[in-house]
Structure formats: structure tokens, C-alpha cells
């Protein structure tokens, strides 16, 4: 693959926050490559660092945050941009759709002002041209009677419509990379599907690449070309969607999938949550971040962090685990833990395995 075919290249991204309670590492060495035209879904629970990651990509870091590693968008390193280039980079090359449509729009400004703002600033469009294009954008996102909507205030639109406006805003300057941070979490389930369909449709038309942040595995599975599972600021498993879901390797991915209620199961089947809690990022554990809650955890897992680049099975499917699921090594680890009655971190196996024991 040539350089320009890779829309986004992140190398060893590390994000730290200085807080009164100490240093908080929200992103701990994430690397990924996103080819042009593809969708990469990042899945993780709350606190996994996925939102911080998304915001860092668009250079929205809080005052007390520091970043290490490199980010290249469209082949250009964002740290090496000149001041002039920087002015018209974010919002033009790369754009972001935020999670909460209720608060993403300025409540005291009309829709037309918020839509045309970016276009007039970056593309130097006249007011009339920008307005025309705004109406066109609203049509693209399937908002009925766009001319009327333009003059309205955000609170006059429903949640779903607001999110469409936010998407239209993001697309205003024709970005090549779209970062969608949980775009449907704040919406009703029925609306969710329509928004995701809309994103798919727009992507197909414009050949835009997309990073889709979500906590919903189903969404990731259905809409992404590649999936990355994030936990405690690190990517635990990465790979093409079909491959990853067909052949999970990381115990966390497996646990995540198993915790989703399956309608195919008989009623009254007990749910299988993942026991324990995410680690304290102010005082992270020395070894693998998931070890305390993992059924495959052995002693080596407590002492060293497994690297993502370690094992692979072709087609870019990688995982960061010493005793992966589905391998003889992993099976042996699981069996040993079951025999001991607890994993290396002292987590009782009955808790972990639940009714399957």
C-alpha cells in the first residue's frame, strides 16, 4: 500500500493528564493504520480511553493534557504543520461528530449560522453560496424542508434531526476523514439505525474514511471494516471485522461478547457480566491491564504487558495476550485456572465463568 492510501496513521500515541491526584494516563501506546475509504471501529467500555483518543486525533486536548507519539492524517504529521496550514486543517481534512446532539449545537445560534460558519471561514465562501451549500447539505442528511430548518434554533429540532445537522456540519468542508465519537449513544434505538445508515450512505458517496467510536459491539460488527478493542487506554485486539468476530483471540473481546444478552438463548438465562472493575488509571497495574478480571490470567500476565504487535495470524489480525483464546496455550491456562479455582490475580473462577462451570 502506498503512503497516500493510508488515511490515518497513529504511532505509539500516549496521552497523559496532570491532575491534582497525580498523572493519569488515558491512552497508553496506541498504534493503528486506517486505509482510505474504510471504517475502523474502536470498541470499549466507559473509561477505556476511546473518547480521549478520538479527541486527540482532532487536536482537542485539554489544557492539562500532554501527548506523545505521532499522528499522520492524509500523510501529514499534525505536529509538523505550519501555522498557516494548521488554520485550515482541522475541520477540512478531518472532522468530528460528537456524541451528544443536545449540547453539540450552540443553543443561541440558528442552524444556518452554525452550518455556514466553517464554510465561510475555511473555504472563503460568500454568505449566499454558503447558505446554498448548507441547504444542500441538509438535504444530503435527509432533513425535510431544509429552508425552514435553517432559520430555526437547535431546541426546535428533535434529537435525531440535531445529530443529522451535526453530521452535516462535519461534512461541510468535505473532509477525507470523519471521526464519529459514539454518534448514536444519545439517541433512541430506532433513530440509531437511521443515523448509522446515513453515515454509511455518505461514506459510500464521498469515499470518506471513518473512525467510529462505540461501546456497542453490534454496531461495530455491522458497520466497520476493521475493529479495535480498547481497554484501559490500550488496544487489546485489532483485525478485520469478520475475522475478529469469527475467531476471537483476546479474553476481553470474548468476555465482552458473552456479556451481551443473546435473544437466541432460552429465557431466564443468566447474564454474564465481566467481574471486577476497570483499573485505576492514576495507578495502573504493572502487567496486563485486564489480568485482574481475566480467566486466562497466569503469573506472567501480572508482570509484563503483552504487546499488540506480538502474535498475528495474517490479514492484520493482532492481539495483545500471552494466553489467547482458541490456542493450546490459552486453553491450558484456562484449565489450570479452573483447577486452582482462581486466576493468577486471585479472582475466583466461579465468579468469572458463571454458569458454565
Amino acid at each position: 500500500m502506498t503512503e497516500t492510501d493510508i488515511m490515518l496513521r497513529v504511532r505509539d500515541l500516549v496521552v497523559d493528564f496532570t491532575t491534582p491526584a497525580g498523572n493519569l494516563r488515558a491512552v497508553d501506546g496506541v498504534s493503528l493504520e486506517l486505509p482510505e475509504g474504510e471504517t475502523f471501529a474502536i470498541v470499549g467500555e466507559s473509561g477505556s480511553g476511546k473518547s480521549v483518543f478520538a479527541r486527540t486525533l482532532i487536536d482537542l486536548l485539554a489544557g492539562n493534557g500532554r501527548r506523545g507519539g505521532s499522528i499522520e492524517i492524509g500523510g501529514r504529521d499534525i505536529d509538523l504543520l505550519s501555522k498557516a496550514e494548521r488554520k485550515h486543517f482541522f475541520g477540512v481534512e478531518v472532522a468530528m461528530v460528537f456524541q451528544d446532539p443536545m449540547t453539540s449545537l450552540n443553543p443561541v445560534k440558528r442552524i444556518d449560522a452554525q452550518l455556514t460558519e466553517g464554510m465561510r471561514y475555511h473555504l472563503n465562501m460568500s454568505k449566499a453560496d454558503a447558505k446554498e451549500r448548507a441547504i444542500w447539505l441538509l438535504k444530503q442528511v435527509h432533513i425535510p424542508s431544509p429552508e425552514r430548518r435553517m432559520r430555526q434554533y437547535p431546541h426546535e429540532l428533535s434529537g435525531g434531526m440535531r445529530q443529522r445537522v451535526v453530521i452535516a456540519m462535519a461534512l461541510a468542508c468535505e473532509p477525507r476523514l470523519l471521526i464519529a465519537d459514539e454518534p448514536t449513544t444519545a439517541l433512541d434505538v430506532t433513530v440509531q439505525k437511521s443515523i448509522l445508515d446515513l453515515l454509511d450512505e455518505l461514506r459510500a458517496e464521498t469515499k470518506m474514511s471513518m473512525i467510529l467510536i462505540t461501546h456497542d459491539l453490534g454496531v461495530a460488527r455491522g458497520r466497520a471494516d476493521r475493529v479495535g478493542v480498547m481497554y484501559a487506554g490500550r488496544l487489546m485486539e485489532v483485525g478485520r471485522t469478520e475475522g475478529l468476530f469469527a475467531d476471537m483471540r483476546h479474553p476481553y473481546t470474548q468476555a465482552l461478547l458473552e456479556s451481551i444478552p443473546n435473544p437466541a438463548n432460552p429465557s431466564h438465562t443468566r447474564l454474564q457480566p465481566i467481574p471486577g472493575r476497570p483499573p485505576n488509571l492514576l495507578d495502573p497495574p504493572q502487567g496486563c491491564a485486564f489480568a485482574a478480571r481475566c480467566r486466562h490470567a497466569r503469573v506472567d500476565c501480572l508482570n509484563a504487558k503483552p504487546s499488540l504487535d506480538g502474535t498475528t495470524d495474517g490479514d492484520g489480525h493482532r492481539w495483545a495476550c500471552f494466553h489467547p483464546v482458541g490456542t493450546p496455550d490459552g486453553e491450558a491456562a484456562l484449565a489450570a485456572n479452573l483447577e486452582d479455582g482462581e486466576n493468577a490475580a486471585g479472582l475466583s473462577m466461579t465468579e468469572v465463568v458463571g454458569e458454565l462451570v
Binding site: T19, P20, R55, D59, L61
Partner: protein
């Protein structure tokens, strides 16, 4: 890196009010120390060997500059400013504390009842509060003092009429918040007597706000009383207050500026300390209320 205060870290808060934590600690301690000093001096008054007779006129020392042993110098009658400030502080501080206490007790009770029991009492209260606070503070106080005459009791009365609704409003707001919390609702469901709930569940949680605002109010009352004295409308001579000392020093400003500056600085430091302490206490209890 961007400079916008988009706050992503859960543990950091950027708040209005008193600055950074480390340096603020020192200022806080300094404020408390100062307040203690003031209170001690004021309470001891003339019992303190360092303090002489405030009305003692000493012809040799007319308009003497600050130095030793007259730390604050002397005024045009030769009286020691230091002595006058210490003794004058009595009245000023007394008024401040008395009014605050009245405000807390009366206003606080009203606020509690209005905030918890709601209903007609609440509506009545709100009407009273809105009405009283519709007149600019000083104007109201001046008016009352004009009508009823000067004197300690009238001053305290007048300023209390201001403090009570102000504090009532604050306590009411806080009570509303607390009353909404689950543990209060739980107690109600359990059938605990309403009065008991107010005293044992609601009040302890409203207390921190009350205390913080007590400090802030004391500062404000101090300033109001001083302004009143300055205008010549507070207690009558020979009673001394900080404001009256300052007012007295106006004419001879050129010759003896220290007559104005010494009590002014003492007043300023005291108000500052009270504000600091009150503000800090407010922040501690995480109550995001802008002062007044």
C-alpha cells in the same frame, strides 16, 4: 496543543473564586490568623496592656506619624489611632457578628421551613424576600436609621432587615437541593416526623453553606456598618467605630493621612480575610454558588 479549556479529565475542576490550591492554603491560614488576632484584640480591648485610653488626648502627639510606640500614629487631637482602632473595632465587629447571627437564626429558619415545607409559607417568604431586596441595601438602611434615629439598636435592626432575607434566600436554595436528595425522601417514606427530618437530615447538610455564607455576610455587614459610620449615620459619638475614625480623618488628610489609612487597612484586611475564609469554605463543600 489547543488552549481551549475543554476539560476531559474527571478530576480537575476550573472554578471561579479563590485561586490555586497550594498558594490558597497559605492565604487561608493567614486569613484565619488575622481574624483571630482581630477578635482577640477587640475582645480584650482596654484590658490589653498595649492598649491605652482611646479618648486620651495628648497635645504633644498631635498628628504624629506612625512609629513606635504609636503604631498607627495620632490624630488631630493627639489621640492614639491604635487605641481607637482597637476599641472602635468593638462596635464594628459586634454589629457584624450580631447581625450575622440574627440573619442566620431568623433567616436560616425561615429559609429552612420555606425550602422544606413549601406551600403558602414559601410563597409568602419569596414575596417578602423579593420585596425587601428590591431596595438597594444602603438606601434601606439609611432610610431606617433616618426614621428611627441613630444608635446601636437601630443600626443592628436596620442591617438585620437586610441580612435576614438575603440569608433566607440562600438557605432556602440550599434546602431545596438537599430536600430533593434520596436519603431525605427515604426518611419521609419511613414515616419519620417531618420536624425531625428537618433537624436531623436536612439541617446538617445545609449547615456548610450556612457557615460559609455566615463568614461572607459578616464581611458585608462590616462594610455596610463602616459605610454608615462614614456617612455619619451609625452610632453617635463618643462611640467609636472604624468608619467614624476614617470619617474623622478626612479633613486633616494632608497632614495626617495615617488617620484614614490605618483603620482603612485594618478594615480591608478583616473583610478580605472573611471573604477568603467564606469563599474557601464554599469551595470545600463543592457548592457552585456565585456569591450573591
Amino acid at each position: 496543543m489547543t488552549n481551549i479549556a475543554v476539560d476531559l479529565s474527571e478530576t480537575s475542576h476550573v472554578e471561579a473564586g479563590v485561586p490555586d490550591t497550594k498558594s490558597a492554603d497559605w492565604v487561608f491560614r493567614a486569613s484565619v490568623v488575622w481574624l483571630v488576632i482581630v477578635v482577640v484584640f477587640v475582645v480584650l480591648g482596654e484590658l490589653n496592656p498595649l492598649v491605652g485610653d482611646p479618648n486620651e488626648k495628648n497635645a504633644d502627639l498631635i498628628n504624629a506619624s506612625p512609629g513606635w510606640p504609636n503604631i498607627f500614629g495620632n490624630d488631630s487631637f493627639g489621640q492614639s489611632i491604635f487605641d481607637r482602632v482597637v476599641v472602635g473595632g468593638r462596635i464594628s465587629i459586634f454589629v457584624a457578628i450580631a447581625v450575622t447571627l440574627i440573619g442566620i437564626v431568623v433567616g436560616g429558619t425561615m429559609g429552612l421551613i420555606a425550602g422544606y415545607f413549601r406551600g403558602w409559607f414559601d410563597s409568602l417568604m419569596r414575596l417578602i424576600i423579593n420585596t425587601t431586596l428590591s431596595i438597594p441595601a444602603l438606601l434601606l438602611v439609611i432610610f431606617i436609621v433616618t426614621v428611627r434615629g441613630r444608635g446601636l439598636a437601630n443600626v443592628v435592626l436596620a442591617v438585620s432587615l437586610l441580612a435576614i432575607p438575603a440569608l433566607a434566600r440562600i438557605v432556602r436554595a440550599s434546602t431545596l437541593q438537599v430536600a430533593d436528595r434520596d436519603f431525605v425522601k427515604a426518611a419521609e417514606v419511613l414515616g419519620v416526623r417531618r420536624g425531625k427530618i428537618v433537624l436531623q437530615e436536612v439541617l446538617p447538610n445545609v449547615m456548610p453553606t450556612m457557615v460559609s455564607f455566615a463568614f461572607l455576610t459578616t464581611g458585608i455587614v462590616l462594610v455596610v456598618e463602616a459605610s454608615l459610620s462614614f456617612l455619619g449615620l451609625s452610632v453617635e459619638p463618643p462611640a467609636i467605630t472604624w468608619g467614624s475614625i476614617i470619617a474623622g480623618g478626612r479633613d486633616k488628610f494632608n497632614d495626617a493621612p495615617h488617620v484614614v489609612f490605618a483603620p482603612a487597612i485594618v478594615l480591608f484586611l478583616t473583610v478580605l480575610s472573611l471573604n477568603f475564609v467564606g469563599d474557601r469554605l464554599l469551595k470545600r463543600y463543592d457548592i457552585r454558588e456565585a456569591s450573591l
